[in-house]
Structures are given as structure tokens and as C-alpha cells.
Symmetry: C2
Subunit: 318 residues, 2 copies
């Protein structure tokens, strides 16, 4: 076989893309992305965050930041799902509570992905374990991995391995800072601790390396792979799902429904949302910084003054 049958592709267009528009999507776009993922045989499709309304300012966010059960049911209602694409949501360990989950028997959600920083790993483990007990599949996604220092990351991995039933633990390159050798290093580090679960990769495109780093993850053994259609996502965006499907050889995947959704629903978003490679995002990636500063810069009238932004970052750091 030219393909790994145990690879799982997670399309998180709506969830990660929701960071560009506070999760205000036209429901027709959400439905189209779900339909495309089902048609393409994508393993999981993530339709948003289930964050806690008391931990956010709920009036500032659209419905896909909370993913109430009726919202999800409406998005998927009547859509053909011949290949059994599963439904995922994300919960932030520091912005969600176990009370936000109902028993799996009452929900159409299959997979709960818990996003966390290393410092919040105990919250993440509690949330993932509760979700597991309620009947959900779970993953734990460790954000900002390029900024986590070794002893604490190692300890967190050991704890996740011992204390959870997560299907996978993710390397999340929130800053888009990693080079291939670092991806190899991190997958190997994860493999030292994670023996009963798979490893996942979620890459950002600040240095145009999101797809490349996803492939490097695959080469080292990562099995859960995140992408978004046309790379939609905050700042420089993500690994494009269509590129990933073009690379994987599993005949169950079909690129055409994805291209149809890109044509009709994602490219038109370019009129209201900006994402993709830009020099300011690259500069925070190279310096291993949170992209927030570059995103603010890209919203300013000085967005094209790249020299000024370069110097701005230098002053901040010294």
C-alpha cells in the first residue's frame, strides 16, 4: 500500500477560520464545508469551538464559538455522509468547562479536541477525561509548542499519556515557527512519552511551511493531520486541506468536493477576510513570537511598512 490506513485528516476550516471573523460564518458556508468534507471522505470535520459563555464576552462572537447542539444539528441536517465523516468541536482548557458537555448519547459530536498550553495541562486532562467518560472521542492539542520549554513539556506529555484516554496528542505550531528538523525533534520527543495514543500535527503557515511540516510529521509517524480549505485561518493561515489530500494516497479521499467548496464558498471570503503569507506574519514566525503583534500590524494603516514593523519587533524584544 502507498498509504497509511491509520492516518486521520481533520478539517478545521470553520473552527480555525473562526479566529479570523470571531466565528461569524454564514450558516450556508458552514454547511458547504461540512458537505465537502463528507463528500471528500475527510475523517473529521471541526465546526467550531464550544467555549463557555461566562468565560468570554458572548455578544462578541458568532454561534460557531459556542457550537450549541441545535446549531450543529442544523449545519449537518440532511447532508449525505456516505463515508462516515465524524464531527469534531474544540474546547479551550482555559475557556471551557466540563459543564459545557452533555452525554454523547444526546449529542451529534463525535470528537472533542481540547486545546491547551502546557501550563493548563491539568485543566485539559480533566476536561478530556470528563469528555471521555461522557462517551466522546478526545484529543489534546498542545498550543504554542515552539515556545514551551523542555522540562514542563516532557512532564505534561507523561501526564497525558498516563491520565487520559485521548486518541491523539497534537503538536500545535501556533507561531508558525518550526523548521523541519524541529518537527522531527518534537515528534520524536512526543514518541518518547506517548505510547498508547497517536501523535497529531497542526501547523501554521507564517513561513510557508505548514504543508511541508505536516508532511515531515507524517514521515516521522504522526497520524492525525489538520488542515483548512485554502489554508483559511488566523494570520498566515494553515496547512491547506486540498494540498494534504493531493499528497495522501488513500483512495477513499476525493479532492473534487473540496475544490468545489473552495471555489464557491472559501475564495469569496477573500472579499471580507484577509489570510495567507504576509511578511509581518513571517517575521513573528522567524522570531518565535505569538502572531498577535503581526495581526494588529496588518490591521493598521502602516501594514505595508515592513521595515517599521521589523524595527518595532526589535525594540519590543531588547
Amino acid at each position: 500500500m502507498m498509504f497509511y490506513p491509520d492516518i486521520r485528516v481533520v478539517d478545521c476550516t470553520i473552527r480555525d477560520g473562526g479566529l479570523t471573523n470571531d466565528s461569524y460564518f454564514d450558516p450556508a458556508v458552514v454547511r458547504a464545508v461540512y458537505e465537502a468534507a463528507c463528500g471528500a471522505g475527510i475523517d473529521y470535520v471541526e465546526l467550531g469551538y464550544r467555549n463557555n459563555r461566562e468565560m468570554l464576552a458572548p455578544q462578541e462572537f458568532g454561534p460557531y464559538r459556542f457550537c450549541d447542539e441545535p446549531v450543529l444539528r442544523k449545519a449537518v441536517e440532511g447532508v449525505e455522509n456516505p463515508k462516515g465523516t465524524k464531527l469534531a468541536i474544540m474546547m479551550d482548557s482555559h475557556k471551557s468547562t466540563v459543564g459545557d458537555l452533555m452525554p454523547k448519547a444526546d449529542s451529534i459530536v463525535d470528537l472533542v479536541r481540547v486545546a491547551t498550553y502546557v501550563k493548563d495541562v491539568d485543566k485539559a486532562i480533566a476536561l478530556a477525561q470528563r469528555a471521555h467518560e461522557l462517551g466522546y472521542e478526545t484529543t489534546i492539542n498542545i498550543m504554542a509548542i515552539s515556545a514551551e520549554s523542555s522540562p514542563f513539556l516532557d512532564e505534561a506529555l507523561q501526564q497525558i499519556e498516563e491520565e487520559t484516554k485521548a486518541l491523539a496528542v497534537y503538536i500545535v505550531d501556533s507561531y508558525g515557527a518550526l523548521y523541519s528538523e524541529e518537527v522531527h525533534f518534537l515528534v520524536e520527543k512526543f514518541q518518547m512519552y506517548i505510547k498508547t495514543k497517536e501523535i497529531g500535527v497542526h501547523m501554521h503557515n507564517n513561513q510557508q511551511l505548514a504543508f511541508a511540516n505536516t508532511i515531515e510529521g507524517i514521515i516521522k509517524g504522526a497520524k492525525y493531520l489538520d488542515g483548512t480549505l485554502y489554508g483559511l485561518g488566523r494570520g498566515a493561515g494553515n496547512c491547506p486541506t486540498e494540498l494534504l489530500i493531493g499528497f495522501l494516497k488513500n483512495p477513499k479521499y476525493d479532492m473534487l468536493p473540496l475544490l468545489d467548496a473552495v471555489s464557491r464558498h472559501i475564495l469569496p471570503l477573500k472579499q471580507s477576510i484577509e489570510w495567507g503569507y504576509r511578511v509581518p506574519y513571517m517575521l513573528t514566525g522567524v522570531r518565535n513570537l505569538h502572531p498577535a503583534e503581526s495581526i494588529r500590524w496588518m490591521d493598521s494603516p502602516e501594514k505595508h511598512d515592513l521595515v517599521k514593523f521589523y524595527k518595532h519587533l526589535e525594540v519590543d524584544l531588547e
Copy 2:
């Protein structure tokens, strides 16, 4: 040392970018790119093709397709060059003649890069050898490498090794088709034959892998690295020079002059030229096809109908 002192960066913004606009550049842009490369300590800056006017329709191209000596002298006149950035031009083995070169003593050109398909390698060798005898540095750049079949490529490499004094032989991924494992394979194949010269890499971005594949080339030992500012180039474009400089650790390089040129001269080109990742370019890359078909599609009113283009490629192939 964290860096390889024998790495050479070649900025080919004007030469490769000239494929987007038939080499019609405002001379102020050419001068600005030259100035930026000098300020940044880029090793070589390539200002265009020196093609033969009888082998093209000269009225269809701007001056940087021919790079007459006065045109080059005007572009660089009075520009400070404290780090000794050298001047390069490209000659196509099938569109240039030895008669297009004068003795090096009469020229400000330092490096002549001969681009060739494997089938034209004898022309390329003759051209490169004549350029060498006239006093120029030379490289031979093998185009469309992903479409060359093994026995002929091997033979060509052996011949180039034995019959030329080229400084480097390039892997040129014209189709943007290569994945990292293929880059590794090709660099190793080149190393089997190329013992007295360096290996170079020139990558295209159809699959968002141009920068990643350049890094993979470095990891395997390639020393001549091509980039263009903001990836300017035909179709999906190239490895962005600014990303490459962000990656390399040689303290002689300075990113700021490059960012200044991107801000003031390259980003404004977006108003008249389109380049960068687009699904049609990706699809020809994935299928290992010449990008011409996708470039024509992107010039058509149907450019956003990705499903139709996908099917169009399938019909053509079967």
C-alpha cells in the same frame, strides 16, 4: 559556526519575475532590487535573461529579456555594493548563442547561468564552456527536473561534470512537483556524479513547498540557493528570498534592505501582476505537469471554477 560559509544565495526576482511580465520592468524597480540585494549581502543578483533576439520575437519582450550591456550598466550605476554582490544573467541553451557574450573584460556580468532541459544539454555545455573561456563564472540549471527520466539525466550529469567548469549544477523544480523525499533523492543522485562542483536548488511554490524544499536541499548539501523577493515569479512563484535570509544564519546577510524593497517595489506590482499559491497551479504541480495550462486557466474568465479545471486536466491526460 551555525552557518555554512560556502552557501551562495542568488536573488532572481527580476529574471524569474520577468516571466510574469515579459521582462517589462520599470528600471526603477530593477535598480531597487539590485540595491536591496547589495545592501542585504546577497551573493548574486540576476537581472534578466540574455536571450538571442533572432530566437525570440524581440518586440514582445522588455529589455531585461536581452540584458544588453548598457541596460545592465544603467541598472547598477552608482549603487553602493559594500559586500561585493555579483551580477548574474541567465541564458537559455535553446534561446541563446555564444555570440551573445562578449569577453568578461568588457562586461559587468560575473555569472552566466545556463538554463537547459536534459535534451539540450550539449548546447548548454557548449554555451557554459564558451562563457567560462570568456572569463565568466557559470552554472548549469537543469529545468523541469521532475519530468526528466533517469538514464538521460544521469548521463547529462556525468557529461556536465566531465566537460564543464561550472561552479554549480542546479536542480530546477519548474513544475513545483517535488516533495522533500524527492529533493533528498535528487540531491543524492546529483552528488553521485557532481564531484568538482556545487549543487544548486531552484524551487517553485505550486504546492507551497518552495522554501521547504530549499531547506531540504541545504540539509542534503546544496550550496547554491535561488529565491525571489516575496516569491515573485511565474504562476505560484518561487522561494521567497526574505524567508531564505530569515533561515540562514550567516551574519553577513541583512533582511532589512529586502523588506524595504518588498514594501516599496514588489508589493505594488500586485496591482498589475498576479502570482502566488492558487489551486490551478497546485493541481499541475501535484500531477507533475508544466504550469502553462494552469497559467492559461488563471487568465481565463473561468479562473475560479476549480472543479472544471480539475476535470479539464483529467481529460487531457486520459
